[in-house]
Amino acid sequence: MEIQVNGTVREVPDGATVTTMLGALGVPSRGVAVAVDGVVVAKTDHDRTVLPDGAEVEVLTAVQGG
């Protein structure tokens, strides 16, 4: 199925969770936050949160600023 990660279309297996998506992107789970369709997913829920088809996912982290 297709999802959008940070505005880019990505192909992930059906039933992919937040954890498997982060792994496929090569993003460490430490220091990042994930929102699926505008709702923040707590780290403790990454394993069991299945991404819906067409999900719009934001993966954010800390950068230089302020």
């Binding site: 940070n6 505005g7 992107l25 993003v27 460490p28 220091g31 990042v32 936050a33 994930v34 929102a35 505008g38 923040v40 707590a42 780290k43 934001e58 993966v59 954010l60 982290t61 800390a62 950068v63 230089q64 600023g65 302020g66």
Partner: protein, 251 residues
């Protein structure tokens, strides 16, 4: 000298809060942060893979500096609340420097959105440090809402114009019972010293150091400026006089 800056449940021996934006690279930033003596430093929350990477967190960790996520770039309360929630998730801290600007040319705070977001974030358990205008009434409102600190600007972000309305800052300081931290507009060490002389509990700056010709040297200057201003504030300055008064005996 034991004179800590106390914000909410934390105590810092440095009264200088640094930003990380504008540094040419992480090595320059690290040297500047070290020279500044800061113990609390802001970071922004952005999409992964954008330039900047996550290296900044490693730098802060190495130096033993607490990260203070901000909501820079947000224009509405809704955006700021979402960003704060993401920051709490990413960094594991309920502390947030709340920053909502009205437009790109001035980057001045949007007071209406700011109050709305502050109320929501306090209710959700955040420790809110609110970037605000140098408006004494607004500062009081933010305190009443439960903010942990107010951060009035000296002048617009990145301008280096210093403190444009010192009297407003004194009014804010005179009535606040939470720390007042001068944020934005600092250009050089004397600006930081002036903020402290006016009674601010601390100073937050980024551009003045990160875009200086020698960031490390300017960071050290800022550290001393804050210390000097703090000492002067507590030392009780002489009254200003119109006519001269000899300091040497007449004969």
């Amino acid at each position: 000298m034991d004179d800590p800056l106390i914000i909410a449940d934390r105590s810092y021996s440095s009264r200088l809060i640094m930003g990380t934006g504008g540094a040419a690279n992480l090595a320059v930033l690290e040297r500047a942060l070290k020279a500044s003596g800061t113990e609390l430093t802001t970071v922004s929350i952005r999409r992964v893979d954008t330039q900047g990477g996550t290296g900044v967190l490693e730098v802060l960790e190495r130096l033993g500096i607490d990260p203070l996520p901000n909501t820079a770039g947000c224009r509405t309360a809704a955006e700021a609340v979402l960003t704060a929630t993401m920051a709490r998730e990413a960094l594991g801290t309920p502390w947030i420097k709340l920053e909502i600007v009205g437009d790109d040319r001035t980057l001045l705070p949007d007071a209406v959105e700011l109050l709305d977001a502050a109320a929501q974030l306090v209710a959700d358990g955040f420790t809110v440090l609110a970037y605000t205008n140098d408006d004494p009434v607004l500062a009081l409102r933010l305190e009443e809402l439960g903010c942990a600190a107010v951060m009035p600007l000296g002048s617009p972000i990145g301008t280096g114009l210093g403190i444009r309305n010192p009297h407003n800052l004194e009014l804010i300081v005179a009535r606040a019972t939470i720390p007042v931290i001068l944020d934005a507009g600092i250009g050089t060490a004397s600006d930081a010293a002036l903020a402290m002389e006016l009674g601010c509990a601390g100073v937050m700056l980024a551009t003045a150091v990160t875009r200086a010709t020698d960031p490390e040297a300017m960071a050290a200057a800022m550290r001393h400026g804050v210390l000097a201003g703090r000492l002067a504030h507590g030392a009780g300055r002489v009254p200003q006089r119109f006519w001269a008064q000899a300091s040497s005996p007449p004969r």
